[in-house]
């Protein structure tokens, strides 16, 4: 008898522990905050309270990184951990505002000649590097010649059009292009073309392995302090920042803490050991669970518009037939993907150009109206095409490759599979480790279809051209081998025209052609959102995940 009493007590203890774990945050279920719905992932609007800059100064912010930075030099990488850290230390010539207007940063103003071939930048005066040296046009010229044009993963291609870099005086620099290129300005932000100090990097040592990449000197709002491997990089306020007269940066210290697991990241946030979890580290389920929690603030629109695309291999049958793709799209319930996978926080795509990319998206095309969800219609069209069902009710089998690391892709893949089963198409899921999937998709090209996220980087030319241009046959480009003279012409004209207004008409036309040809199906306009600890006031005017952190401050310190 005695024996069983003890077993009972132990079991009760185990159950108690299990019960405690069920709810997650204790207070979360009792409150519900109204939040703006729609695309931006339930934005809780935060207005700047009146109050002097002095009140905002002070405090430490701990930001979660996914993984450990490879280096702190943002000019040579697109890795998010490197950029989140490096772009607090370094800056580009310009930055974006929420509408993708170009704002000054290290360049105070600029002129572009009417033929679009000459760019003159007037650099900000009185800016110093963190070691006290003056920032001049020599630094910019040296960086463009030796780093950006060689190693800038996103900008090197654009710089092949730059034929001459001229230092006019200490604070003026001129770029001459061989042909007009409307996207040049959007490639001069920190994450694409950070400016490095010539007096540090000009010593002849290799840029990629330069020792100062681990101990950098920049012009940005925060200075490098220390790096404890596996734990965190600590940054401290740059007292001589060029926005110092506005009191910026407000924070004394930023600690960039690295995590290897999304679960550990969210748990650290809930335990108060981390203050900010940004878009790249945050899964949408955790965001949805915690965004209205009184302990946290959910902020939407914290990254460039990123979409998930279901991409077809146009060299394989029957996907090479546009009529088949037009039938498949009708069987896909993208509204369900948004509801089930994204809790309604994302946007149902209307065209191949993200609706949040306002300057390039016309609003004239609506995929959901062109191809309304209808299993019946899809079945009828496939029947008419002669793709009849076999004894098992199957018309054909195709595979779907996606990254196993992203739970949202996995859940979306399940929905696609269910959707296609309704029309007699067997979708075989092939979840692969990202590193492996990259090779399968881009090098081996061994896939029928794949599901992937694509960052627009705020510009069709920069982010999306690589999906559609015939000539984009190199690695990481146009994996489905879509090719259309019409699309190529529109992309080239869109790139050559200047200014958003000049370029938009070509992209509006492009939307129509892509909606007709369907080289891929946009599945979701992914919500980009950060979670902040209550009391921390977020960045106000940047869609770029990496810029603007000097504006963050504690309204109320924890």
């Amino acid at each position: 008898m005695k024996r069983y009493r003890w077993i009972g007590a132990l079991l009760a203890m185990v159950l108690a522990v299990a019960a405690c774990s069920g709810g997650g945050g204790g207070a979360s279920s009792t409150t519900s905050t109204t939040s703006a719905s729609g695309n931006e992932g339930g934005v809780t609007s935060t207005t700047v309270e009146p109050g002097g800059a002095e009140d905002r100064r002070g405090g430490t912010m701990i930001q979660a990184l996914s993984g450990e930075p490879a280096s702190l030099n943002p000019a040579i990488t697109t890795s998010t951990a490197d950029l989140y850290t490096g772009c607090k230390i370094f800056e580009g010539l310009v930055r974006f505002d929420k509408e993708y207007n170009i704002l000054p940063s290290l360049a105070e103003s600029w002129e572009i000649s009417d033929d679009g071939l000459h760019y003159t930048f007037h650099l900000r005066q009185g800016v110093t590097w963190h070691d006290g040296q003056s920032f001049t046009a020599e630094d910019v010229a040296w960086t463009f010649e030796n780093v950006t044009s060689q190693y800038g993963p996103r900008s090197a291609a654009a710089f092949t059009r730059v034929s001459e870099i001229t230092v006019v005086d200490d604070h003026t620099i001129e770029l001459t292009l061989t042909e007009p290129y409307g996207s040049l300005m959007s490639l001069l932000t920190c994450s694409a073309s950070a400016i490095l100090p010539k007096h540090i990097y000009g010593d002849g040592a290799d840029i990629l392995t330069h020792p100062r990449n681990n101990d950098p000197v920049g012009t940005g709002p925060f200075k490098f302090d220390s790096w404890e491997r596996g734990t965190a990089v600590t940054l401290v306020r740059n007292e001589n920042y060029w926005r110092a007269d506005e009191g910026m940066p407000y924070l004394d210290r930023i600690i960039m803490r690295s995590f290897d697991s999304a679960q550990a990241t969210i748990q650290a946030l809930e335990a108060g050991e981390v203050d900010v979890v940004t878009d790249y580290s945050l899964d949408v389920a955790s965001y949805n669970r915690l965004k209205d929690d009184p302990r946290f603030t959910g902020v939407g629109g914290t990254n460039n518009p990123i979409g998930h695309y279901w991409i077809f291999n146009l060299e394989r049958e029957p996907l090479n037939d546009v009529a088949v793709r037009q039938a498949l799209v009708k069987a896909i319930n993208v509204a369900l993907v948004n509801d089930k996978v994204y809790f309604g926080l994302g946007g149902v795509p209307k065209s191949h150009i993200d609706t949040r990319l306002g300057w390039a998206h016309s609003g004239e095309v609506d995929l959901q109206q062109l191809y309304p969800y209808s299993v019946e219609q899809a079945n009828a069209e496939l029947d008419a095409l002669g793709l009849t069902r076999d004894a098992n009710g199957l018309r054909f089998t195709i595979d779907l490759v996606y990254f196993i690391e992203t739970s949202e892709l996995e859940e979306t893949a399940q929905i696609l599979r269910e959707n296609l089963r309704e029309i007699g198409v067997d979708l075989q899921l092939r979840p692969l480790e990202q590193n492996v999937a990259q090779n399968v998709i881009w090098s081996d090209e061994d896939f029928d279809t794949f599901l992937i996220r694509f960052n627009s980087f705020g510009d069709v030319e920069v982010g999306l051209r690589r999906l559609y241009h015939c000539d984009a046959t190199g690695p990481f480009t146009n994996p489905g081998h879509y090719c259309s003279e019409e699309v190529d012409r529109l992309l080239e004209q869109g790139a050559a025209a200047s200014g958003p207004e000049g370029r938009a008409p070509y992209y509006h036309e492009l939307e129509k052609v892509l909606a007709r040809d369907l080289p891929n199906i946009p599945v979701i306009e992914r919500p980009a959102a950060d979670l902040l600890r209550k009391g921390l006031v977020p960045r106000q005017n940047s869609p770029d995940a990496y810029d603007g952190w000097e504006e963050v401050y504690w309204e109320q310190q924890p």
Binding site: A9, G24, E68, T78, R154, N213, A271, E273
Partner: protein
Amino acid sequence: MNSVLRYSLGRAAQSIPLLLVVVCAAFALVKAAPGDPVTALAGDFPISEEYRLEVESRYGLDQPWPVQLLKYLGSVVRGDLGFSFMNNEDVSTLIWQRLGPTVLLTGGAMLLASIGGVVVGTLAARRPGGVVDVSSQLAAFAAYAMPVFWLGQLLIMLFAIKLGWLPAGGMRSLRDPKTGFEGVLQVGKHMILPAVVFAARYFAITMRVVRDGVIGGMDSDYSIAARARGVRERRILVSHALRNAMLPVVTILSLNLGFAMSGTVLIETVYNWPGLGRLLFDAIGSRDYPVVAGVFIVLTSAVVVINLIADILYGVLDPRVTE
């Protein structure tokens, strides 16, 4: 003692070819896995073919793999573990920075498991089938069966998030780092959850072995003889039965340490502990060959050394071995 020394040196010499084989095997395994480091290095934006070739030739990745392996072995013999292009740092520096936390956590957990296992095992053996025995057996069963990551997250939710008594992860507070004695206390506080979770499984094994050994010892001839001489039960338990049950505990401890070294990946990821396990996890994900091979070498060496120590200790505990 001289024979013990010669024996130890001989064992150490034997382990060198073993290490070479392990390094080659690790290298081959990583190479055979699909995926490539340049892709991982480039991040999520496409890179041009020129850039790829440039990076590959810079790091010698364009050479055939036997050449890469031979070059690597050559430098390892010279004590150079190579350069990690993913971390822009020497591999030996990286490993050195991350070794301390792993040794601390593993050592702490094994100490906890061993002491806890011996104490609870002995208490349980005092009255087989009694309250202590049954409940500790049940606890050991649960501790052995529960997956580390699951138990780890459960305890984080309870003690870090719900109750707020203990930190959820890391080795010290980043917001408010302490130094000196307070710093030691802070690390200790951060160690409690990972060490307990890490120790659970090894506690279970040790406890069972000690319990069975002590029960057997209490029934053995020498205990009966001691009882006949009028020695008290408690003294028989501690000085006779437990002492004899300690020999297998040493063996188990050395085996446990070997397994635990490889278990650091899970526990360090769950508790965001800045040790070798997470370094290895990162390195495998990014195909950082020099780091993977370097960590393997260090972990294998550690296991070999631990086994050596266990052999020597065995000799000290049991005089028959050294004869």
